[in-house]
């Protein structure tokens, strides 16, 4: 259930996620070791275009990557195919994007 386009989308998003994951882990270690409070972390991330782009790209890549991966598993496990499989794949991707996007906006948004 993977054609070349889906395969490339999954591999390219994996390439994007690899450095972002390392960056995310590095930031977490830095934040914990420095003893930053939640307020201090949010103070640095909210309103930051850099962190918006960093985690926004991450969420976009995860949504595409995971949706394609689950599409394969669902097809091979349950035999789903055609329009139903495409609709479900898109739904998974959009739900992941919406959930991740909400988190990104909360952390890097204007600061409510």
């Amino acid at each position: 259930m993977l054609n070349l386009r889906l395969y490339m989308a999954q591999r390219i998003t994996a390439l994007i996620m690899a450095p972002l994951t390392l960056g995310h882990i590095a930031v977490m270690i830095y934040a914990v070791q420095g003893g930053l409070s939640t307020g201090e972390i949010l103070g640095r991330t909210q309103g930051s275009i850099f962190w918006f782009a960093f985690y926004g790209t991450f969420v976009l890549a995860v949504s595409v990557h995971a949706a394609i991966g689950l599409r394969v598993i669902i097809h091979e496990t349950f035999g789903m195919r055609g329009a139903a499989l495409t609709t479900l794949s898109w739904s998974i991707g959009l739900v992941l994007f919406a959930m991740g996007g909400r988190a990104v906006m909360a952390v890097t948004g204007g600061g409510v």
């Binding site: 259930m1 993977l2 054609n3 070349l4 889906l6 395969y7 490339m8 591999r11 394969v72 097809h75 091979e76 496990t77």
Partner: protein
Amino acid sequence: MDGQSQTMDVSVWRGGEDGDYQTYQVPAYESQTILDVVSWIQQYEDPTLTYRFACRVGMCGSCAMMVNGEPRWTCRTHVRKVLTDGAIKVGPLRNLPVIKDLAADMDPFFDKWVAAGGVHTPSASRNEPIAPVDPDGDDRVTASAGIECINCSVCYAACDTVAGNDDYLGPAALQRAWTLYNDTKHDNRAGILDAVSGTGGCHNCHSMGSCTFYCPNELDPMAAIAGLKRETARSFFRNRKG
């Protein structure tokens, strides 16, 4: 295993898709193959047992069956290698429809072989001079790595991706495609990349390696599929630029 003093329990699939295993007592001999066992049952127990074989020496690829749940070429599989607690289970090849008993319908296997671009398209006619091929050239060495495939379908039966995905072309067809792709005398290399890039193409392979593990000729279809993935990925970027 001296003479006919010992017997073994051999369970053999009988019937079509809805069939069942039937057990026979078969005398054990020295240097006995699974094909010998199946032939003995047909000759001495039940002449209606259906199975395929031709050369009996591992050349023709006709006699592959599931032996104790694993795909094997039965003419080159010794009983002593697979006998478990005095018993053997022989069934039709996995991932293919059953026609009757041990004969699987090979049509899907060969249809996919053609669908993957496996038919040779000559780059010159018989009236033109023969173009020399360097046997040590990179392309030829890569192509030669897969030419000993006997189309026994052992890899196809071993493949868990085929089991989960009917559309998947499978290891043998994709290896054939990779062989032709590297054949300088093949005139439709781009056609092969198109053929293996569709819904059931090479990108569905999970690189689990059962094909390479079970191939009786010790070929490496998984590496061939990896080669197709590499070349199609390159063509993806080339096409975008062009």
